[in-house]
Symmetry: D2
């Protein structure tokens, strides 16, 4: 699935924010901040990562999976999609 | 909740690994890697963050929540704990 | 998406088991059974319902979504699929 | 943890609604209803069961876990709580 340079830049920027948030939590632990505040931050990072993941999942379904369906080879591409979705929804 | 320096070091190391994994995904996107491989990595990071979160959750329950219960003020500490549980399990 | 009578029977049987498990929890509450045992049962029911859901999700993707893609109208079918994915993974 | 008769009645009523919803899905499958509508119903049931579960989790934490903490035996009760919570959040 070839993303445009712009799409790639947007996704990478989103992940840089997540990277910064993870560093932020390290600092909170360093400073013995209240556990509940740290946990709220971890939940926010997880939710942010899931949004990025759903974005990629949609790209993949519209790109690679649809092409496989059009070429008559949708079955295995859909089974792979389901496996990733199951793993993703349990993480 | 005061963690020992050793506990803090272990938690921060775990989060540094997550930080490195997030950078790894940025690279995968840069290199147009297969979407499913990127999604599997995102699931792994989410799972890693959740494990760190459960660890902090247990510390908090054994520390701050238990002290509040012992001082006869458990009700509000437990309600706060439940809110974090719910938010955490939806992320 | 037309399921065969056999597929319908298997799905309905699975859901009848879930129905029985839900009745079982009512009984556990009636009998003041230990909360943790009740919670383990609720988790088992949720997991059972999710498996049935993933099964239906795969049928739908192989059926209706693939047909829409083949007819050149995949975009909206996939966006609908993603919404269900997200809702399902948060429940 | 002894619930009052009123609390028990409210929880059992909530679970009877879930039981009815599960029967409703069997009917939807019988009638070949649209998969997405069925999946939305399954998500609603899962969310309803989770709310009931969090309710029981809070009762348990305020009841049995707090009593164990007050009797100086909080450690094992909290570890049990964490296991149930992890299982619950993955279901």
């Amino acid at each position: 699935m070839m993303r445009t340079e712009e799409e790639k830049k947007a996704l990478i920027q989103r992940l840089r924010r997540v990277e910064g948030q993870v560093r932020g939590i390290q600092k909170m632990i360093e400073e013995d901040r209240y556990c509940v505040d740290i946990l709220v931050q971890i939940s926010a990072i997880n939710a942010g990562l899931k949004r990025a993941g759903f974005h990629i999942l949609e790209d993949h379904t519209k790109g690679c999976v649809s092409s496989a369906v059009e070429e008559g080879d949708g079955e295995s591409a859909i089974e792979e999609l389901m496996k990733v979705f199951e793993q993703f929804s349990k993480s």
